[in-house]
Symmetry: C2
Amino acid sequence: MAGQVVDGAGQRRIPEATVARLPIYYRALLETAEAGVGTISSERLATLAGVNAAKVRKDLSYLGSYGTRGVGYEVDQLVHEISRELGLTQDWPVVIVGIGNLGHALANYRGFGARGFRVAALVDADPGKSNRKVGGLAVDGLDSLADVVAERDVTIGIIATPAAAAQEVADRLVDAGIRSILNFAPAVVSVPEGVSLRKVDLAIELQILSFYQSRRPDLGETAAPVAREAQG
Amino acid sequence: MAGQVVDGAGQRRIPEATVARLPIYYRALLETAEAGVGTISSERLATLAGVNAAKVRKDLSYLGSYGTRGVGYEVDQLVHEISRELGLTQDWPVVIVGIGNLGHALANYRGFGARGFRVAALVDADPGKSNRKVGGLAVDGLDSLADVVAERDVTIGIIATPAAAAQEVADRLVDAGIRSILNFAPAVVSVPEGVSLRKVDLAIELQILSFYQSRRPDLGETAAPVAREAQG
DNA sequence: GGAACTTTGTGACCTTGTGCACAAGCGCGG
DNA sequence: CCGCGCTTGTGCACAAGGTCACAAAGTTCC
């Protein structure tokens, strides 16, 4: 079978769990490259990424055979392959909907641009906010969402509204042609097939921590599981 | 076998994936209760939570047999059982370390208190910020972290610093006796066994979305997987 | 050129999680 | 009291993911 996992379109099929780890490797590799190191072993990369070495090798093997036995991986090449695989070679304009506390913080967040993500638009339902500028960008009204998305080629939508508005906003984003949504609102949002949706929920994270903390026998033996790797 | 999965301490062992979903059920149930509904079926709860009904039933069965066949689950009872299981019956004082954009937003975030989490302290390495008050709370210096944690019985630490400071802060939190950490910094942080660590990373989420978006054949057939349910 | 050493790539196995399907259990109506 | 309809609880089969261990393949040194 030549051992390649391939989907219908002829691309290698990369497991979801692997996809969720690629960005972690990517970041570690960028730092490694910056330090002037040219080659890295799966063992070293595993340490940097906080996973085990076999997992690193298996993950990377989905991208192809870019390692050299006895040596390791060439850092620059890996960076290139991963960024290509993740689609980071292109620009991804992002719209943030809901300019409250969180939306405000996200709009000012450095670390977007570096990875090819760019906040291209800010939208809020409150017309009062349309006057303000946040992080050098004007806030548009919710009604102009579709226009703004079209004009600025926005591909990714971030929902930072209160829970009650989340579904409505998601629907509008989808209508506007957005196919990738990141939801920060504490609400379950559903989208049609073909649209990717991920969620980040502070309250849920805390409640999970609370679960393990309250079970902890206080210096007892039941080890609490460590970080889920996906937020994912 | 009487069918109960039990760990060494005699508690039912609840799978990680289930733990990650309990908060979602919890929120849905609170809303349902608020609407004055007394009873709910697994089917209905599944719809609200965005999962399938069998999963709901299996998840809830780990808590015990609280459903009534032919009827459903009593909402109030479920709310009570889940909140007990998640440890939400007690108060969890939280310290936020790093009062930049994100830390600021988190400090002002409503939705903590409601679920028993309370921002009890704010800490920042920059002494210049120690003057400011954020959300009615004074910002303490990093050096007083241990004192503040001890005085105010803080049990959960949130890292909202730049990546470079994250590990250092984590170490200090652990030294101060914190056993549950939520990391927002874009860095891999390691903690000793017995300490729970979860991470939330905006850039990673976007990169995952980017992966699926760039693979999308643009109205083709390869369906993108929908929201991972855990962010956990 | 060959032996010793290093590191990758992967097959095999195990654990966890998911979904189906159905028997058991409960309430209601007659 | 009995049968019917609805809903839970769970056994089972399968899919996904993780870990181990090792052969294959490369490097280094003599």
